[in-house]
C-alpha cells in the first residue's frame, strides 16, 4: 500500500510509534484515579454511541492524546486502504490466495456495489429460509413421514462455536413453532456428546446438519458416520433415510454428494468465507432455526450496520478501530498480555470461547505479510466467562493478583421486556435478577479501575493490606439496549473488525490458520498404529513411543 493523496496528514510509522513510546512512559506512571480526577468529561469524551450500542472506553489508561496517537499509527499503517481492500474481492488472505468476504454474507438483497455476490449469497439464504420455514411449520418430515422435532448440528470450530454461541445467546427469541423443536450441537471427536444425546432421540423425528466447510474434517465426519449408522439401524440403509435426515453445509458439493447428501439438501458457502467468520452463511442454519427467518435477517442487518460504520466512521469514532487500537495499546505499550471478556448476561455463556477462536486463531501469528518475524507481540490471550459466575472464580486474580488484565464488560440494558413465551410468566422476578447482574457489572469495573478509591474512604485507613485493592486495571464497557438478533449481529461484527484492525497494525494475515493444519496430519499418521495396521514405531520420538505402547497394551488387553 503506497501513501497516495490522503485527506489527513500521514506520518511514517516510526514517528507515530515514537510518540506512543513517549506516552507509554508517561501513562505507566499514571493511575486511572488521576486520569479521572483530571478530567470530569472523560465519559463524554471517551465513549461512542452507535444505536443500540454504547461503547464506553473511558476506563482505559489513555487520554485524548493517546487516542490521537493511536489513530496516527493506524493511518501510518494505511488502515483506510486496508479496509477498502477487505471490502473488495482482493485475495487479502495471501497465504491461501483467497479473499475474505464475510461482509458479503450480510449484504442486503439489492446492493449496488456488489450485486453479483449479493445474488449468490441470497440464493443460498433463500433456500435456507425455505427449509427453516418448513421445519417451523411442522412440515419437514423424516423417512416415515413423521415430523422432524429434533435437529442436531454436527460441526466443529467455526461450524460449531458460532452457531452454538448465537443460538444460546438468542434463546429468548426462540421462534414459536408448530411442534416443539429442539436443537442440539455435537462437535467433539471422541463422541462424548453423541453418546449422551442419541439415546434420548428418535431416529424417525431427528434431522442432522453436517456442517463442514471442507467436508473433510475428521471430527465432523466421524460423528456423522456414527449417527448415520444409528439412523440406518432403525430406518434401513436406503437412500431416503439419507435424503430425509441429512442436510449438508459446505463449499464442496461433490463431497457432499459422495457422502450421500441429496442435492436439494446441500447448502453452499464459498472459499472466501473463513470458518470462524461463517456463521452469517448457511453454517448459521441452527441460528435461523432458533430465531426464525425474520430474526436471522435482523441478525445480518446488525452486522451490516457495523460494516457500514467500520467503513465510513472517522477512526476516532469508529468502534472496531478503537477496539483494535485500545487492545494494541494495552498489549504492546502497557504490557497487558491477557484480555478477559466478561458478559453480564448468562445467555452469552459461549461468547468468550467464540472470541477465543475469532481472535486467537486469527491473530495468533508471528510472521508478517513480508515474510519477516513480527515486530510486536500479536494477539493476547483471550479468555473469559459469564461475569457473575466468574466473580466466584477468577476475579480474585483480577483484583489482587500480580497480572495486569484488560477486560470487556458486556451487558444489555433491558432484559425480560418482550413478553416472550419462554419467560413471560416470571418476568417480574427475572427483571429484578437482571438489575442485580447490572449492579455487579458496574461495581466490578469500578473496583478494577479505581481500587481502594472505590471503597469507603473512612474505613480505608484501618484496612489491613490484604484487604486493599490496587485498581488501575483498564476495561471497556459495552452496553446494548437489549440483547437481540440485531444487537448481537453488531457485537460480533465489531469484534470481527477489531481483529482485522489489529492484524493491520501488526502486519499479519488474520485469515489463515496454518498452525492448526499440521496436527490433523500427524493424527492421521498415528491412527494406523493405534488401529494395529502398522507396527513400526521407530520413527517416532521416545515419549510418543512410550505413550503409544501403553495405549496399545490397553486396547489389546
Amino acid at each position: 500500500m503506497k501513501n497516495q493523496n490522503k485527506p489527513y496528514p500521514v506520518e511514517d510509522i516510526n514517528t507515530a510509534i515514537a510518540r506512543l513510546q513517549g506516552l507509554k512512559a508517561h501513562f505507566e506512571q499514571h493511575h486511572l484515579n488521576d486520569l479521572f480526577a483530571n478530567d470530569s468529561t472523560r465519559f463524554e469524551q471517551l465513549s461512542v454511541v452507535l444505536e443500540p450500542i454504547i461503547f464506553d472506553f473511558s476506563k482505559h489508561r489513555i487520554d485524548r492524546s493517546v487516542v490521537d496517537s493511536l489513530v496516527q499509527w493506524a493511518q501510518a499503517r494505511d488502515l483506510s486502504n486496508w479496509i477498502k481492500t477487505l471490502f473488495s474481492s482482493t485475495a487479502i488472505n495471501y497465504t491461501e490466495q483467497r479473499s475474505a468476504m464475510h461482509w458479503a454474507l450480510r449484504l442486503p438483497k439489492c446492493d449496488q456495489q456488489h450485486q453479483a455476490i449479493a445474488d449468490q449469497v441470497h440464493e443460498q439464504l433463500q433456500k435456507m429460509y425455505g427449509l427453516v420455514n418448513k421445519i417451523h411449520e411442522g412440515q419437514y418430515r423424516g423417512a416415515t413421514g413423521e415430523v422432524i422435532q429434533d435437529v442436531v448440528n454436527i460441526g466443529v470450530g467455526g461450524s460449531d462455536l458460532g452457531p452454538l454461541m448465537v443460538s444460546h445467546a438468542l434463546s429468548d427469541f426462540k421462534k414459536s413453532t408448530q411442534k416443539p423443536l429442539n436443537l442440539h450441537f455435537v462437535s467433539t471427536i471422541d463422541g462424548s456428546q453423541l453418546s449422551e444425546l442419541l439415546h434420548k432421540l428418535r431416529p424417525e423425528t431427528t434431522l442432522f446438519i453436517i456442517s463442514s466447510k471442507s467436508f473433510g474434517t475428521i471430527d465432523t465426519l466421524s460423528n456423522a458416520q456414527t449417527v448415520r449408522q444409528w439412523l440406518e439401524k432403525v430406518l434401513g440403509q436406503e437412500a431416503q433415510t439419507l435424503k430425509h435426515h441429512f442436510i449438508g453445509v459446505s463449499t464442496k458439493p461433490e463431497k457432499m454428494t459422495a457422502w450421500g447428501i441429496a442435492p436439494e439438501n446441500q447448502f453452499l458457502l464459498w472459499d472466501w468465507v473463513g470458518g470462524r467468520y461463517s456463521l452469517w452463511s448457511c453454517i448459521g442454519l441452527p441460528i435461523a432455526l432458533t430465531i426464525g427467518v425474520n430474526g436471522f435477517k435482523q441478525f445480518l442487518a446488525g452486522a451490516y450496520a457495523i460494516d457500514q460504520h467500520f467503513q465510513h466512521a472517522p477512526f476516532e469514532q469508529n468502534i472496531p478501530v478503537l477496539m483494535g487500537l485500545l487492545g494494541a495499546w494495552n498489549n504492546n505499550f502497557l504490557d497487558i498480555q491477557t484480555h478477559a471478556v466478561l458478559p453480564y448476561d448468562g445467555r452469552l455463556k459461549y461468547f468468550a470461547s467464540y472470541l477465543q477462536q475469532l481472535e486467537m486463531e486469527s491473530n495468533g501469528k508471528s510472521i508478517q505479510r513480508n515474510g519477516e518475524k513480527v515486530e510486536w507481540d500479536t494477539c493476547p490471550i483471550v479468555w473469559g466467562e459469564v461475569g457473575p459466575n466468574a466473580q466466584h472464580a477468577f476475579y480474585q486474580l483480577l483484583h489482587q493478583g500480580t497480572h495486569s488484565v484488560s477486560c470487556d464488560f458486556i451487558a444489555p440494558i433491558q432484559r425480560y421486556n418482550a413478553n416472550q413465551f419462554t419467560y413471560v410468566d416470571n418476568a417480574e422476578a427475572l427483571i429484578e435478577q437482571h438489575h442485580l447482574a447490572l449492579s455487579n457489572c458496574l461495581a466490578q469495573s469500578r473496583l478494577l479501575a479505581f481500587g481502594n478509591q472505590a471503597l469507603d474512604q473512612s474505613e480505608l485507613a484501618s484496612l489491613p493490606e490484604y484487604k486493599k485493592y490496587e485498581g488501575n486495571q483498564p476495561s471497556t464497557t459495552i452496553l446494548m439496549q437489549e440483547l437481540n438478533p440485531y444487537s448481537l449481529g453488531m457485537l460480533i461484527a465489531m469484534y470481527e473488525h477489531k481483529v482485522f484492525v489489529q492484524s493491520v497494525l501488526w502486519n499479519i494475515n488474520p485469515f489463515d490458520q496454518w498452525g492448526v493444519e499440521k496436527g490433523k496430519e500427524i493424527a492421521n499418521q498415528l491412527l494406523p498404529i493405534l488401529n494395529g495396521h502398522q507396527q513400526d514405531l521407530s520413527t517416532l520420538d521416545v515419549s510418543t513411543q512410550g505413550l503409544l505402547k501403553i495405549l496399545l497394551g490397553k486396547i489389546d488387553g
Partner: protein, 418 residues
C-alpha cells in the same frame, strides 16, 4: 311454564322443540342467529320437523329480544364457547328489565369451569342451574330423551324444584336427576368428553402398534367391544376425532388439568395422539411413495369432521391439506355437504380442486384418501376407480372397506391399524 331460549346451538333447538312439545310456552330469541348453513340444528331433520310442528301449534314462538315477555319463568342459555361475551351482554340487558326475581336461569353452555358463575355474577338474584350439553350430533332428540340420568349442577333446593318441574314431562322420576354442585357438574361434563376422547386415542395408539406387529386392529376392536365392561362406542380407529365442541371440551379439560399444577399428562397425550392421527393418511402416502410426492395428485373423499354434517371445525382435512400442500401436491376434494365450508376457509387455489362428483375427484389421482365415512362412500364402483385413477391406491381413514375385497379388485389398500 314460559321459557325463553337463547342461543342457536343444536341443544337450543332440541330443548325448544321438546319443551314446546310438552306444553311449555317457548320463546326462542333470534339473537345470535346465523345463516342456515351454520346452524347446527338445521342439519337434523327430526329436530327441524319437531320445531315446525311446535311453531304451527303455537307453543313455540321465534321472536326478537324485545318481544320476550317479562313474566318468563325459566331462561335457557345454550351458547357456543366463542359466544361467551355476547352471553354476558344479553344478561346485562335482562338485568335492565323490570323482571320480578328470582327466575330459573339455566346455563346449558360449555364455557369451561366457572362459566355458570360468570353468568350468575350478573344476575345474582336468580336461581342458577347448570345443565350440561349431552346432545350427540346425528342423534339429537334421542340422545336427550333416552338419557338414563341427567347431571344437573344446582346448589339450592328451590332451583331443584324448579328445574324438576320444567323437565317433569321428559324426566318424571326422581332418580333421573343427579344433582351436584355447579362446579362439579361443569367438571363432569368436560370429563365425559375427556373419557370419550381417551377411548379414541387409545384405540388409535393401539392401531399404530398393531400395524407394526401385523395385527388387524379391527379384530381387536371387536374383541374389546364384546367385553360388557368396555362396550363398542368411541372405539373406532381412524383419522382422528374433530368437531368444535368436542375438541374444545378436551382442550379445556387438558388445560384445566395442567393449570392446577397436577402432574397428569394423560389428556395432553390424548390430544397429541389425535393431532398425529389427523395426518396419518398423509404419512401412509409418504411412505408408499418414499417421500417423493411433489406434483402428484391426491383425491380426498370427505372433509366434514364426521358424516351427516357440513361442519369442518377441527376436522382432519385441515392437517391433511396443510401436509399435502407442503409437499407441492394437488388435492381433488369431494364432500357431499362440506365443500362450501372448505371454500369459505381456503378460497380458490391451484392446488385444491373442488369436485361435486366423487368419481370426478379420483381422475388422474395417485391415491384416494377416505377421510369421512359418508354412507355414499361405502360401496364404490371399483372398476370406475381403477379406470380413472392414475395409480390404484386406496387409503382408508375410517376402516370402512374390506381389505381383502379391495385388494382383490386390483388395488393397493391401507387402512388404519390393519
Amino acid at each position: 311454564m314460559k321459557v325463553a331460549v337463547f342461543g342457536q346451538t343444536l341443544y337450543s333447538g332440541v330443548m325448544a322443540a321438546l319443551l314446546a312439545e310438552c306444553g311449555h310456552q317457548v320463546f326462542w330469541c333470534d339473537i345470535l342467529k346465523r345463516s342456515a348453513s351454520e346452524q347446527a340444528y338445521t342439519q337434523d331433520d327430526a329436530v327441524i320437523n319437531l320445531l315446525h310442528k311446535q311453531e304451527k301449534s303455537g307453543f313455540l314462538r321465534y321472536c326478537n329480544f324485545n318481544a320476550i315477555p317479562l313474566d318468563i319463568d325459566a331462561y335457557f342459555f345454550s351458547l357456543s364457547p366463542t359466544e361467551e361475551s355476547q352471553g354476558i351482554e344479553i344478561l346485562k340487558e335482562l338485568k335492565q328489565r323490570p323482571i320480578i326475581h328470582p327466575k330459573l336461569m339455566i346455563n346449558a353452555s360449555t364455557l369451561g369451569l366457572h362459566g355458570t358463575e360468570k353468568f350468575e355474577k350478573i344476575l345474582t338474584d336468580d336461581d342458577w342451574v347448570y345443565l350440561p350439553d349431552v346432545i350427540q350430533e346425528g342423534n339429537a332428540l334421542q340422545s336427550l330423551v333416552q338419557a338414563k340420568q341427567l347431571t344437573v349442577g344446582c346448589s339450592s333446593e328451590t332451583s331443584q324444584i324448579k328445574i324438576r318441574e320444567l323437565l317433569r314431562p321428559l324426566f318424571p322420576r326422581e332418580q333421573q336427576y343427579l344433582f351436584m354442585p355447579v362446579l362439579d357438574a361443569e367438571f363432569t361434563k368436560l370429563s365425559v368428553s375427556g373419557m370419550l376422547a381417551t377411548r379414541i386415542s387409545y384405540i388409535n395408539d393401539l392401531a399404530v402398534v398393531a400395524e407394526k406387529l401385523g395385527i388387524d386392529i379391527e379384530y381387536v376392536r371387536q374383541g374389546l367391544a364384546a367385553d360388557s365392561r368396555i362396550g363398542a362406542s368411541y372405539l373406532y380407529p381412524g383419522a382422528g376425532f374433530g368437531g368444535e365442541n368436542f375438541s374444545h371440551d378436551v382442550l379445556t379439560l387438558a388445560n384445566t388439568v395442567s393449570g392446577t399444577g397436577a402432574k397428569s399428562q394423560l389428556l395432553a397425550q390424548v390430544w397429541d395422539i389425535n393431532e398425529q392421527q389427523k395426518e396419518i393418511l398423509f404419512r401412509k402416502l409418504w411412505n408408499y411413495y418414499h417421500g417423493d410426492l411433489a406434483g402428484k395428485v391426491v383425491a380426498i373423499w370427505g372433509a366434514s369432521f364426521k358424516e351427516n354434517t357440513s361442519r369442518i371445525q377441527q376436522s382432519p382435512i385441515h392437517a391433511m391439506l396443510k401436509a399435502l400442500w407442503a409437499q407441492n401436491m394437488v388435492v381433488k376434494l369431494h364432500d357431499p355437504q362440506a365443500l362450501a365450508e372448505i371454500e369459505k376457509h381456503y378460497g380458490h387455489r391451484e392446488d385444491l380442486i373442488y369436485c361435486t362428483d366423487q368419481y370426478e375427484a379420483v381422475e388422474g389421482a395417485h391415491a384416494l384418501c377416505l377421510l369421512t365415512a359418508w354412507k355414499q362412500y361405502w360401496s364404490p364402483n371399483y372398476p370406475e376407480l381403477l379406470k380413472k385413477m392414475q395409480h390404484p391406491l386406496i387409503l382408508d381413514g375410517r376402516n370402512i372397506y374390506d381389505p381383502c375385497y379391495v385388494k382383490a379388485q386390483g388395488f393397493a389398500y391401507q387402512g388404519v391399524g390393519r
